[in-house]
């Protein structure tokens, strides 16, 4: 509770500082509206159906991207983590592909996939695969050999060991990977919407509010909402992790 009070105090202080800075003329009001105006704008937007549809479009794309990325990266991670030979063979390709910024792939994706929502989803998937993949691979490195021996001694074959020992044991790491992937996904989705336009989404809304009318209060309101979404996604995964994988924190804390 104390942490919550302090967190709230910090947030209020930050907003107050912004309010003072903008209202005193330290920062030009036209380019950076005070927080009160931004928040009022956000409140108005939440009642606006087109804006809500934009938000839903982005959230839906986020859910799809994370689900698809997990479905690709977790099995792939199990294969790479469980087979050192495959891992070595793919290492060069993986290390080449991983540092490529998703946003740099926008032109390519537009040509390949057109300008529909599948483009931004594909790019978000691309960005999301890496944290999940690497966390899964590292989790298999951390897998306790004695757990595997125990399962093998009870007659479990390779596949069974993979599914009923390696996978559950890797789950806390995997979930951390998915959490990181979700926030990365959100950044990529909003960026792609902003850069390509033409598709409903928070990024598109920000792009339109900023161009022409130059409504910086609405631009910032959209940005704040994207931030809130990111925060909620992260908190949801952390909460799920604590609930489902309590054994992990406790056993790790002890050893």
């Amino acid at each position: 509770m104390r942490a919550f009070t302090r967190g709230t105090a910090g947030l209020v202080g930050f907003l107050a500082l912004g309010e003072v800075a903008t209202r005193s003329g330290l920062v030009p009001r036209a380019s950076l509206p005070p927080p009160s105006v931004v928040l009022a704008g956000l409140a108005g937007l939440l009642a606006d159906e087109t804006f809500l549809l934009d938000v839903i479009a982005t959230v839906l794309a986020l859910v799809i991207a994370v689900a698809v990325a997990s479905a690709i990266a977790v099995p792939l991670g199990l294969v790479l983590g469980g087979n050192p030979a495959v891992r070595q063979a793919t290492r060069a390709v993986v290390e080449f592909l991983r540092p490529i910024p998703s946003v740099a792939l926008i032109p390519l994706a537009l040509v390949l996939l057109g300008s529909g929502p599948e483009t931004k989803i594909a790019l978000a998937v691309y960005a999301s695969v890496w944290p999940i993949l690497f966390n899964t691979v590292y989790a298999l490195d951390e897998l306790d050999g004695l757990l595997v021996e125990t399962a093998r001694a009870f007659g479990c074959g390779r596949l069974r060991v993979l599914l009923s020992v390696a996978l559950p044991s890797a789950l806390p790491f995997v979930l951390t990977g998915v959490r990181l992937a979700a926030t990365t996904s959100l950044v990529v989705l909003v960026s792609t919407e902003l850069l390509t336009g033409g598709n409903p989404g928070i990024g598109e809304f920000i792009l339109e509010a900023g161009s022409g009318a130059g409504r910086m209060d609405l631009v910032l309101a959209g940005t704040v909402l994207a931030g809130i979404l990111g925060y909620l996604v992260n908190a949801a995964f952390e909460g799920a992790g604590r609930r489902l994988l309590g054994w992990s924190a406790l056993t790790r804390g002890r050893s």
Binding site: L146, L147, E149, R152, A153, S248
Partner: protein
Amino acid sequence: MPTMLEVTDLGHSYRAKDGVHEAIGGVSFTVDAGELVCVVGPSGCGKSTLLRSIAGLISPTRGSTTLHGSPVQGVPDDLAVVFQDYSRSLFPWLTVQRNVEFPLRRSLGRAERQARAAEALDWVGLSGVGGKYTWQLSGGMQQRVAIARALAYRPALLLMDEPFASVDAQTRFELEDLLLRVTREHASTVLVVTHDIDESVYLGDRILVLSGAPSKVVADLTVDLPRERDQITTRESEAFVTLRSETARLLHGGRPRSTKPVTSANQAEDGQTVASRWADAERAETGRRATTT
């Protein structure tokens, strides 16, 4: 009693930096059904390697193992292993009950599995903790869960690798008695690997003494104690003390006094080393009895 396990000339060597290291140098022995046999050996003599070879977890470089008549290739179906490190061999994401059910998942339906697990937990005095997680239990209780899991599997052979080396002395005594009780109640065939001489005498019907690497069986001692054992009276009995000294002497490379050696392990060793170890063992003994050599 019929022979349950037969190990013939089992050897294991692995490649080390400076050539090939021979961990096990040809070990042969048998274990009868219903017997509890302890394997003692100096540390680093390949006891765990021997156990893992018998379990089929690693393939020995030579020799063969048969379990109730059929040759062992890979991990046999009806064999269970209890490891020393219970905290790393129980699955932390499963409850106690589900840990015990784990090996039964392949062969049994849900209801039967649950019944068997509950029964095994009852044998080790842990009925009622099935819903807890293993890491919520004390070390001794965790090892009891591991024993229950092995027993629930109803193995033809139960292998134990230093099962009580990680618990405190008091718990260790309790677990030793528990093991004797449950394995006798179910006529289990058990092979316990230990470095603890007292434990091997207390638990075993027979003791196999191994030499240092490359290990061979130095002696196969029959434990001439009543099957009913007691932590206080058994340990102070003359037979126990004699057998313990005998085992200690053999472990230190000495010649057996009362039992014929199965193989002459001393041949492989440098005479000087054997002689000096022998002297060390004797010096350690002089406080208790007169030197006879």
